[in-house]
């Protein structure tokens, strides 16, 4: 058991492991952006309300603004840039095809959130609007109402929701 005035943290971001020394107050978002130069997770509200800082953390969609970097020592993080590192990810392609953005600021968070959400649905996780809790959900259950509810943690101030919904519906196979 150690007390850290400042401490090292190992973060694997888009396949590359970094060790950095951080002040204990450093958020994961600031570590990614300011220390490691990963600009695709965006600082929108910085209070967990907008979703623009969303990444995939150990495979699940996760905010990085309400997380202290030291708590995530050893985490594996995939950013939106990492998703597209070897050619466009199908969800990214769908956002392009359906105009799922305007200014683009929320888009990396939207894309990571959509990828994580589709995985959750495929694994059978229900949502607030799921009528029947007794059986696991599948991607086929992703109605527009399901997609809207499951994506409610990602705000788009431009209001590109119609295109975002179309993109995610296509990515879900609908």
């Amino acid at each position: 058991m150690d007390t850290f005035p400042s401490a090292n943290v190992d973060l694997t971001v888009d396949g590359i492991t970094h060790r950095i020394a951080v002040d204990p107050r450093t958020t994961l978002l600031d570590a990614l952006r300011e220390r490691l130069g990963h600009a695709s997770p965006k600082k929108g509200c910085d209070h967990g309300q907008c979703g623009s800082c969303t990444v995939l953390l150990d495979g699940r969609r996760h905010l990085t603004c309400l997380a202290l970097a030291l708590s995530y020592d050893g985490a594996e993080i995939t950013t939106a840039a990492g998703l597209g590192a070897e050619g466009m990810h199908p969800v990214q392609q769908a956002f392009l095809d359906h105009d799922g953005y305007q200014c683009g600021y929320c888009t990396p968070g939207q894309v990571c959130s959509a990828v994580g959400m589709l995985d959750e649905a495929a694994q059978g996780q229900p949502s607030h609007v799921t009528e029947d809790l007794s059986r696991p959900t599948t991607l086929e259950d992703l109605t527009d109402a399901e997609i809207r509810e499951r994506m409610s943690g990602n705000l788009c101030r431009c209001g590109a929701y119609v295109g975002i919904l179309d993109a995610i519906r296509e990515a879900a196979g609908g």
Partner: protein
Amino acid sequence: MREHAYLRPSDPAQAVAAVTADPDASFLAGGTNLVDHLKLGIAAPGLLVDVRHLPLDAVEETDDGLRVGANVLNSDLAADRAVRERWPVVSRALLAGASGQIRNQATTAGNLLQRTRCVYFQDRTTPCNKRDPGSGCSADDDRAYGRYNAVLGASDQCVAVHPSDLAVALVACDAVVQVLGEAGSRELPLEDLHRLPGAEPHRDTTLAHGELITGVVLPRSVTSARSTYVKVRDRASFAFALVSVAAGIDLHPGTGTVRDVRLAWGGVAHRPWRARAAEDALRGAALSESTIRSAVAAELEQARPAPGAAYKLAMLRNATVLALSRLVPALAVDLDRPEEDR
């Protein structure tokens, strides 16, 4: 943000010892509320004791129910097969709260220990007895933004409400909280975890400094198996409750009368509000919209709403009818009809 030290203990006893020894220390779990408070200056601990990595993340079947570890994530608990089948109110409450990302980060115990979203508590420039004891209450004023205020059990010191949906569901399930302290472990009913504000609104719970929630036990029951959660909020998703209702029911198979019932309300008090007077009024009764409304009225005799929050009483009546009608489809209700015409 104030500078703080960071400690990652390897077992629960070490975590308890570290926080107990330091009045300036705080547990850190998922961080979805506390890290925000660090940024806002609402919380400024000198030491954060990170309990997120402690091995308290199992959901285990026991002889008479389910034991949920303190670190089980909200999303995992909501999706748990046993919870969905035998405690659906818990799944429903969790799924009605926060966003997909936050549910992937927030823990079971952290959800219970989150703090009020009273706008004045969260605004460091205004007086607040909960944040700064003795400074006054900015919300208890007819000129204030009082839509979120409590209508039950408030004091002249504090009119804040508890924000957790999960806690309301757990109260309706007669859940038990397992706590570890320096003197050892103890259990208490979930209903006794949170407290009314009285003269000490800065204390949200009955826990002593350094006591750590290690798990929650869900006992099996007929009312929990037939249960649901109705949440009314300002927008369709990702918002805190104006009012909410956790309901469970057991009907007599022959007569259809109410053999047992559980009702707990959220968004109306400093703690989840178990509506015992309403339950008593319904037990043994033939379930109808009018018996439900009478039962709710019996509970609401204690209500003391300020004008800005008086709307919550009508909302509670309707939400309670709606919750029970979802459990008993034969109970035909028409909530589009104006309440005074019923």
